[in-house]
């Protein structure tokens, strides 16, 4: 029995041995000594038959007539292929390979990156692009980017409001590290609360966004990534001053505390205490302002265990004074001596993010984020009092994994949000509480070449919006090389914060009228919109230099909208949409390195945005149908010490804009039906002395174009015709600035 078993076991071995190939693999050396290589791979080409050499370098491998190429390989040696016609002994010396194991790859990244492969139409703006305009805050970061339009909000604060696809920022979801940020009470001024130097990069998504970040985005999403303590320089100082009296100082201090912990302090201060009134209408052209903004971030990173975490706290104090130049708030508040306004905001933000990547399966992770903020704005505009307190809690739990393999991914999770508002409009209190709970699931597919798709669905239950479903779909198809065709569809919903979003109405003699319909939000129903669009991106190479062309078309249809009607100069009427409201947007954009180191970006945009107002279907006021944009950047080659010159020039040309109807005003307070077309030019020169120090000098609105009558009825601000809401062009003229950046 015992022998039979042994015989059985040894039988297969002896069969192989008969027809096999035996041999030895050795390390080549000058003396031709037999130094065996252990662990070398020995395989038949195009087969699954292979073996490894033993400790002494010997091997044996079965032989078959189908195979005649034997491959011998070992890391650090050149792979050899031997032709073997019949079973024989093989003695082979492997030659060490001369190749270096380490290859350093260095690639210059474009300042604006367009993705060819993602299903969503995302443009990433990195810090190099942000330096093209010495932007003071987030609202000014988009001047060199055609995806976003910058509009002037009102004659008093000169706050720039941004819009995408022809819709103003309330229809955009603005997030900071994926936590909804500029919303609710901070809608009007929130973008000015993020200092430009704090921004690491911006991701702009056109069209319906992902369901992961909620149901609020309609025309797109703007996400801002802030500087990370681990990556930012240990010390950064930026000083800025402009000829209109604005001074700004930014300081970042980052410390790596251990392998895992880093912390950063970010301090921003800006002030303007010089009164500017270039148009002599007795009103300040820019607010007297004072802002202190302090943040502290903690970053924890443990790559072995897979944990990443951020903890942030921020405190902001922002004061603005606007109105007549003689206005003294202590003496003139609520009097008819002079007209003035003060807007004081205090804000506290905190957030915690936790991320975990399963070390054994990098495609599987979860993330948790929770944010708390308290926003307190106390303000008055002449005799109008507007106070708003907004307390907000937001939390999101997200789980990522795959179905089968990484071509099929999914994200799922839960969102919990609370918003408590305490809002006082003159003597009326509009306090309210919003609570919502939502669950989402997003599936994404990519075949790694031609097709990718993201389909998401979320279900939310909200105390005032009810229970509803939000579907979103993104598809990308690559018909040929460097071409990318995208389509998207999505639904968005929103509870409009009508006063916070339209604060400029308080700086006029217009009466505020609400035409309510028993809805849950200020007596209105929630807004609901459908957004769909297509875009095509084609990369090309002309004269051996890269470029790309994009064409996109998007349409937004409102089923329900809170319409703000300014068409009667005596009042502002809020009502739910009756009839149609839509926004069509067409954009054509070209980017090309036209000459070595010279980047050109040019765009044309056409907007057809119409709403049924009380006086009929009209084009949206204060919006140009046609817009042109051009940006040219030139950099000299960087020298060894990092020194470089950088030049940048931007042109914005706007076609005529429809003005709200003023025909019922007395003749001297009437405006035309349309504003004139005009153009604006900005330019900046940066001299980089070394990697540590650079200075910049720039100018905005170089042609000094101004709207000559931004304040209607400026002579009598307490009279019936006082109106600061019709602003279609800059009020501040040419603005020259200079600044420096120091890094160490």
């Amino acid at each position: 029995m015992k022998y039979i078993l042994i015989l059985f076991l040894s039988l297969p071995i002896s069969i192989i041995a008969q027809d096999g190939i035996k041999g030895m693999v050795m390390e080549a050396n000058a003396e031709n000594k037999h130094i065996g290589l252990a662990g070398a791979n020995v395989y038949w080409l195009n087969s699954q038959i292979g073996t490894m050499t033993k400790d002494d370098g010997t091997f044996s491998i079965p032989y078959s007539k189908e195979y005649n190429k034997l491959i011998i390989s070992f890391v650090g040696f050149q792979t050899d292929t031997l032709t073997i016609e019949k079973p024989r002994m093989v003695h082979h010396w492997l030659q060490p390979s001369n190749q270096l194991d380490e290859v350093v790859v260095q690639q210059e990244r474009d300042a604006i990156q367009k993705t060819y492969f993602s299903a969503q139409n995302v443009v990433t703006v990195n810090s190099a692009e942000l330096l093209k305009a010495a932007c003071c805050n987030l609202s000014e970061s988009f001047e060199t980017n055609p995806a976003i339009d910058v509009n002037f909000n009102d004659a008093l604060t000169g706050t720039k409001q941004i819009q995408m696809l022809g819709l103003t920022s309330p229809y955009l979801l603005i997030t900071q590290e994926n936590i909804p940020m500029v919303r609710g009470a901070s809608q009007a001024y929130g973008l000015t609360f993020t200092p430009g130097t704090w921004v690491e990069s911006i991701q702009i998504t056109k069209g319906a966004g992902s369901v992961v970040n909620g149901y609020e985005s309609i025309s797109g999403q703007i996400n801002t990534e802030l500087q990370k303590p681990l990556m930012d320089t240990p010390i950064f100082v930026n000083g800025y001053a402009n000829l209109n009296g604005r001074l700004e100082l930014n300081t970042h201090i980052n410390r790596k505390l251990s392998d895992k912990w880093s912390t950063g302090f970010y301090i921003h201060g800006n002030r303007r205490d010089v009164e500017v009134d270039n148009n002599d209408d007795g009103f300040l052209d820019a607010p007297l302002a004072n802002q202190i903004n302090i943040a502290n971030r903690w970053q924890y990173q443990n790559p072995e265990k897979g944990w990443v975490s951020f903890f942030n706290v921020r405190f902001l104090n922002d004061e603005k004074q606007v109105g007549q130049t003689d206005f003294n708030p202590d003496m003139d508040k609520f009097t008819t001596n002079t007209w003035g306004s003060k807007i004081d905001t205090r804000r506290f933000d905190s957030s915690l993010k936790l991320g975990y990547v399963f070390p054994e399966s990098p495609y599987q992770s979860f993330g948790f984020q929770v944010a708390y903020s308290k926003h307190k704005q106390d303000s008055f505009y002449g005799f109008n009092v507007y106070d708003i307190d907004h307390e907000s809690v937001y939390s999101n739990f997200l789980f990522n994994s795959i179905i089968g393999n990484t071509k099929n991914k999914f994200k799922t999770g839960l969102t919990l949000a609370y918003d408590g508002y305490d809002e006082l409009v003159n003597n009326q209190n509009f306090g309210r509480v919003d609570q919502s709970l939502g669950a989402f699931f997003e599936y994404s597919y990519t075949n790694l070449e031609k097709l990718s798709l993201t389909a998401g669905l979320r279900v939310d239950t909200h105390n005032r919006l009810g229970t509803f479903i939000t579907p979103r779909l993104h598809v990308r198809y690559t018909p040929w090389e460097k071409g990318s065709l995208r389509g998207s569809f999505g639904v968005g919903r929103r509870a409009a914060n009508i006063f916070a979003e339209n604060q400029k109405l308080f700086a006029s003699s217009r009466a505020i009228r609400l035409v309510q319909n028993d809805g849950n939000i200020y007596g209105f129903d929630a807004e609901k919109a459908f957004n769909y669009g297509v875009s095509f991106l084609q990369g090309f190479s002309l004269f051996n230099r890269p470029g790309n062309v994009t064409v996109d078309y998007y349409r937004t249809d409102f089923e329900n909208q809170v319409v703000v009607d300014w068409e009667n100069p005596r009042e502002v009427v809020f009502s739910n949409l009756e009839g149609k409201s839509f926004a069509n947007s067409l954009q054509f954009e070209i980017n090309h390195e036209v000459l070595p180191n010279v980047e050109l970006r040019a765009a044309y945009k056409y907007y057809d945005v119409k709403t049924d107002f009380q006086t009929g279907l009209l084009q949206k006021p204060l919006q140009a149908r046609n817009r042109y944009f051009a940006n040219i950047g030139y950099n000299t080659n960087e020298k060894e010490n990092g020194s470089q010159w950088r030049f940048d020039y931007t042109l914005h040309a706007l076609g005529q804009q429809r003005l709200p109807d003023t025909s019922s005003n007395p003749e001297e307070f009437r405006l035309g039906e349309f504003s004139d077309a005009y153009s604006l030019m900005n330019a900046q020169i940066t001299k980089v002395f070394s990697k540590k120090f650079e200075i910049y000098l720039g100018g905005e609105n170089l042609t000094n174009f101004r709207q000559n009558n931004p304040v209607l009825g400026a002579e009598d601000p307490f009279g019936a015709n006082f109106d600061t809401t019709i602003v279609f062009a800059p009020i501040l003229g040419r603005m020259v600035y200079a600044g420096f950046r120091f890094k160490s």
Binding site: S73, E360, I402
Partner: protein, 118 residues
Amino acid sequence: MKNIVFAVVCLFGVVTSNAQDKNKKMTFEVDGKCDMCKMRIEKAALNVDGVKYAVWDIPTHQLSLIVDEHKTNAMEIKTALVGVGHDTKELKASQEAYDNVHPCCKYRDDNTDDSEKH
């Protein structure tokens, strides 16, 4: 004796089935040179049933995988890779498969890192 052998065989069976990991990590070298190769390599690997994750690194030419060992093994993946024209240390692609790769991916002529060009 019979029982001992049986027990040893059983034990071995248990050990080997335990060694078959549902999330087995493996890395090996695959020849290629650019982003297009990267896409082709990763796609071929992921098309093998049981491959959950595949990332090919251009400068090091290393393909990192996570596979379900119940469903597949390294040789099956390498066979799929040579099928789309990419050589591994042990298996070389047939001339026919190699001829099918894009001209800019002809790594056999010059096995450089070409990631910036494509």
